[in-house]
């Protein structure tokens, strides 16, 4: 098999069309990464600077979250569908308003949800 001119035109078209940017960004195309979590961040609004001042003052948890799963709201909200439980938010929080607890199936994490859906 030898490449014809037609093959070459076809291949050129593909190489110019399939670029990194050909698709619109969507969330969670390869699955919900929150199912990887073994430790769960729990948010305590009473200790949170943002909640206490009622202003977008601190938000270090939002800034440091590597998965962009914490919102810049009052109070900040955690998206457990994609939070992998790395614990960086809990480490960075200056008032310990976020603590990490072991993930338990009955608390409705993704793994148990998926299992329920299967049954």
């Amino acid at each position: 098999m030898v490449h014809t001119e037609e093959d070459k035109e076809y291949e050129k078209n593909v190489s110019q069309s399939i670029l990194a940017s050909m698709q619109k960004i969507v969330t969670g195309e390869a699955g919900k990464t929150g199912s990887w979590r073994s430790m769960r961040p729990i948010f305590n609004a009473d200790k949170c600077i943002v909640v206490k001042t009622n202003k977008p003052t601190c938000h270090l948890c939002w800034l440091y979250c590597p998965e962009n799963t914490i919102t810049r709201e009052i109070p900040p909200k955690i998206d457990y569908d994609y939070c992998k439980g790395c614990g960086i938010c809990a480490t960075e929080c200056p008032t310990d308003a976020i603590i990490m607890i072991p993930e338990q199936k009955e608390e409705g994490n993704l793994e148990s949800q998926e299992q329920k859906e299967e049954h």
């Binding site: 291949e11 190489s15 069309s17 670029l19 698709q23 619109k24 960004i25 969507v26 195309e29």
Partner: protein, 422 residues
């Protein structure tokens, strides 16, 4: 008319970036690359590059990450490094290529540790062979200046969209002064218009204006997308990148031709440069500083009556298979000088050439030599000696079949290793 300046190779690179009006530069200093970015930093600080942002970073990994991110927002970006710094960038090099970002970076070549060496060889530039960058080698400072301008034009061509290395020998070029013709920014801007990128992640956070962007995750298969075409899988993206490489060669030739029309300077066909090679029975084959030295050796051997020429490879990736088959079609023997080793095999240029010539109608005897690792001086006498030794070898078939490669300029005897004394 631009000024004719006396510049080091590194400063020639910096002046080329100035002419190309690069928008974001991030780099971490490493010998022998440092003066490139020091000079650019000086341009930025003295307001000679008013639209350029120079990002100071704490490592090479951060430097390449910063320029990759900046490139994905549509900017023309630049960085430079050497040896161990390049290895530290390795992860993000694949990211730049896989995202089809047209960034240009210089490699002032330097031997890789260990043992430490700040001197030149080509091991670093060849060690990043398979990341998906184009790689162009230079022989003099003017060529560095010109190649950077051409590299931007090629990398940013919508038929290509691939990042490019511009490699030149540490110290031999990076720190050596030569006259360099610089060009007017207006003239350069005509040759190198503003980047029209396929991507602009700066718009990504605006939910009303959701732009297309880098696919963060692919799966083994393609992914159906309701309301639009299915998203390609990893395999399709990488196929596309390979095809972009294959067809970039025509663009590279085209750009080299246009460059010579606009600026009056020419580097062979943009792929390789020939020197007294028209009727050559034996061709030398090398890149960068070694090719320069080979020019001297060719003159010596021509004076002695041997029909010897040089093919100095400019474009190492994408590898110009067809061009090499054509240029060596009537050559009896090619002597390859590698300032590098594909450890566990032989000189990298030698085995790349052998593989390219395998399917040629007739192929020359290919003899590889290793020379000048870690900045060991490579002299024309060594090259003449090596070439003549290969020419004098009666049983060329056995020479070709020998699995042990040969070395020039090793000083084992001076260390006390004598033959026949064990």
């Amino acid at each position: 008319m631009g000024k004719r300046l006396v510049l080091t190779g590194n400063h020639a690179a910096a002046y080329a970036c100035k002419a190309a009006n690069v928008e974001v530069v991030a780099a971490y200093p490493i010998t022998p690359q440092s003066p490139v970015v020091e000079k650019i930093s000086e341009f930025v600080e003295t307001n000679k590059l008013p639209n350029t942002r120079f990002v100071t970073v704490e490592s090479e990994q951060s430097a390449i990450t910063a320029v990759v991110a900046a490139s994905a927002t549509g900017s023309r970006v630049f960085t430079a490094t050497s040896a161990n710094g390049l290895e530290y960038m390795y992860e993000m090099l694949s990211w730049a290529a896989g995202s089809r970002l047209p960034l240009v970076m210089c490699i002032a070549t330097r031997a890789l540790g260990a043992p430490w060496s700040v001197w030149t060889d080509h091991q670093d530039a060849f060690s990043v062979r398979d990341v998906g960058f184009m790689n162009m080698f230079c022989e003099d400072n003017q060529e560095i200046y010109d190649t950077i301008l051409m590299a931007y034009r090629i990398a940013e061509d919508p038929r290509v969209f691939l990042p490019a290395f511009v490699s030149y020998d540490g110290y031999i070029l990076s720190h050596t002064f030569m006259p360099v013709q610089t060009e007017d920014p207006e003239k350069v801007a005509e040759f190198l218009p503003k980047l029209k990128h396929h991507i602009d992640l700066a718009k990504l956070t605006n939910p009303d204006q959701r732009t297309k962007g880098v696919n963060p995750v692919t799966t083994p298969d393609i992914i159906p997308r309701p309301g639009e075409k299915p998203a390609p899988g990893y395999y399709e993206f990488r196929y596309s990148m390979q095809k972009a490489h294959e067809y970039a060669i025509e663009v590279i030739e085209e750009v080299a031709e246009e460059f010579s029309e606009v600026f009056g300077r020419k580097y062979g066909n943009g792929i390789y440069k020939e020197y007294r090679n028209d009727d050559a029975e034996v061709s030398l084959f090398a890149v960068g500083s070694i090719a320069s030295e080979c020019r001297e050796a060719v003159d010596v051997m021509r004076d002695q009556g041997f029909k010897v020429g040089l093919v100095s490879l400019k474009l190492f990736r994408p590898f110009p298979i067809e061009h090499l088959r054509k240029v060596f079609q009537d050559t009896e023997m090619v002597v390859v000088f590698d300032r590098d080793i594909g450890y566990g095999y032989e000189g990298i240029l030698a085995y790349e050439l052998k593989s390219a010539m395998y399917a040629a109608d007739r192929h020359p005897i290919i003899k590889g030599y290793i020379v000048g690792l870690g900045g060991r001086d490579v002299t024309k006498d060594q090259i003449v000696k090596g070439t003549q030794k290969a020419m004098e070898t009666k049983n060329k078939d056995a020479m070709q079949k020998d699995t042990h490669t040969d070395y020039l300029g090793l000083k084992l005897e001076e260390l006390g290793f004598k033959r026949g004394e064990n």
